[in-house]
Symmetry: C2
Amino acid sequence: MKATDWDGFFADARTLDLEDYILLDYFLECAGDPRLAAAHFCAEQSTAQWRRVGHDEDLRPRFGARVLDLEVIASDLPAFSYGVEAQTPGPISACRLRIAHPHGNFGARIPNLLSAVCGEGVFFAPNAPIVKLLDIHFPERWLAHFQGPRFGVAGLRERLQVYDRPIFFGVIKPNLGLPPEAFSELGYEAWLGGLDIAKDDEMLADVDWCPLERRAALLGAARRRAEAETGRPKIYLANITDEVANLADLHDRAVAQGANALLVNAMPTGLSAVRQLRAHTQVPLMAHFPMIAPFSRLERFGIHSRVFTKLQRLAGFDVIIMPGFGARMFTSDQEVRENVEACLAPMGHLKPSLPVPGGSDWAGTLERVHQRLGTVDFGFVPGRGVFGHPMGPRAGATSICQAWEVIANARSVQAEAEHCPELRAAIEAFGPLPGAGA
Amino acid sequence: MKATDWDGFFADARTLDLEDYILLDYFLECAGDPRLAAAHFCAEQSTAQWRRVGHDEDLRPRFGARVLDLEVIASDLPAFSYGVEAQTPGPISACRLRIAHPHGNFGARIPNLLSAVCGEGVFFAPNAPIVKLLDIHFPERWLAHFQGPRFGVAGLRERLQVYDRPIFFGVIKPNLGLPPEAFSELGYEAWLGGLDIAKDDEMLADVDWCPLERRAALLGAARRRAEAETGRPKIYLANITDEVANLADLHDRAVAQGANALLVNAMPTGLSAVRQLRAHTQVPLMAHFPMIAPFSRLERFGIHSRVFTKLQRLAGFDVIIMPGFGARMFTSDQEVRENVEACLAPMGHLKPSLPVPGGSDWAGTLERVHQRLGTVDFGFVPGRGVFGHPMGPRAGATSICQAWEVIANARSVQAEAEHCPELRAAIEAFGPLPGAGA
């Protein structure tokens, strides 16, 4: 690219109608002049060759992605991060870029958005092998084409008639290997103990040793029994993650049998397939997070997890399960909060999604999650903390409810456990209680 | 996990019916005893809790993933790679693992496979934050459920009646911004110059300024004219990457108008959606590679690109476009060869896919690609090298054919260019010629 060509990929935000652009924040390590690298970076994700040979034309004003801000964070770095080797025709710099990408290039389509903003162009721009897409911002003009969550946080709360506390989920365990009969008994026990939502593991499929339809029938019946006995609405969250060709049929069969929410592993199944299911669904859709960490774990390479959270909300998930607090999940507190924010903050006309930060939770970790989020608009999702409880899943669920009662009344979990056998047993089995700072 | 529990996640391969297992090779960095980390790693990707409380049962023999080989590559590392911080209850080791994962846990389903072998369990196993899925091996018992490529390399060669040389692709450029009329003229010129396949850019969608149906109609007509004039079959490869809900309809409309191969960006659209399209398609399906590099670029974290190549072949792509040779693509020669091998090597009953290693190619890079692959079973896919050629796209395509004639006759490209104006102009515009080792 000639130096005189660079300017066509830069713009002053005040000169653009920002409703026509998706805004993208990137981290970039590049060799040579950062302005040239930034221009190439825009060209590669939009109009890489902006005129035909022999024609006097310039496609950049309408179709070019443009740099709005370029901040050089560090210069003369000794090498690219993470041992990536690349030609280095010049000194290496680390930059932050804000880019305005014209969504008219591809329209309101998730696969085409992804191809543009984190596709070949972005990860194969010349002399810039280290890239992280840090954040994405959609204008209402583009969001208007998307349905987003059908129920959202308020709709889910209404279904459960739970308004003033976190929603209590539990992953039925053993996660794999039980027949539907034994599996449904575990769910029933946990509902009686106080769980709102008993869910399939994200790895449980429509398999011959535990067919979805039979599972949904038994858990649907158990759910209705639990609702009658407790006087409270309950949800059985069936995992319909499967080949895309089967999703609508599995939805229909699972719901007909008594599942009243459905789990889909968003990235393995595909966000676009979820958008299609959203147009069809009768019940809340809930996302699990396989295949996001390999994009998001490293600080300076890949795609930030909040981008996926926003995309899952866009695709129409009412609930987004995500890596939560605690060293076990290799996710900083800040990143967890950013993902919770991406669920709950205004996003055009889209309803909020309920964030469910998870990972090795039990009654004793509830206070930490609540304190760090500063809201009750979250889901809490133990697995072993309910189903590995030494007194059984009913007691495991009860231990969660007991912990919440204590927290809601601003008392000490440790002290109150003396009067709550289930909570005490949880602390003995899974403790010690994490400190507020742990 | 108690020390006595570890053994349940190890097995001697000779004691297993390997047709029941998918074999997985991982790189892993872990803190503490590598055998314990390996056992946890298997538990997390299969049966994380293998018995109910109060029951005498063990679900591991049937449902547990098992370590077949554990090789400790390095011990007492000072830290995890890539600056990842994690609790380290013990010294840090780097390992290679081979794991047998029972596919009966999820069945012949791509989303469920992904959820198990590169999902939450794999990237959130205790004390093992650095993981790379290096390779995957499918037994015929599992592959038998998949169609794989409908045409494969032989079928594509038959359609083009090209048997003894690489297939010449070209990405029509400018990639974005031209109306169908101008766009189709470029394709027509390139076919006349000798291109086999003129293709849409992976970012070109069914947009109002270049609707797919109109584009396919004009390029279909141009293709038939070019076929009549050259006496050779030609292919227009239309990009139908779009929301999953639209794929079958876009297939039908594009093919009806004259597209005779279809491009889908595999990962942004979803491999499972491609499998669904494969069952419907009348024409060869071709894959482009957005969203693979963020998984695969780093040596010790993520998912190796050959895993995606195998998955794309499994999903049914006849052609797989992938990062090719040259420093520009940030991909080692070895990795390119591994991906080509993953396309062409035996894989149960699945036909081979045509590998198309691409990236900033032009006539002068053809010899390098051919030499490094040692086969003519590949596609060659310039963009600017054809459509940015100073004499225009017809000459650009001719320069590719001239280069091949020279190579096939074991003559020197540089020397023969003297007699070939198009090739000579290409060298002047895009050269110098890379050395065989460059």
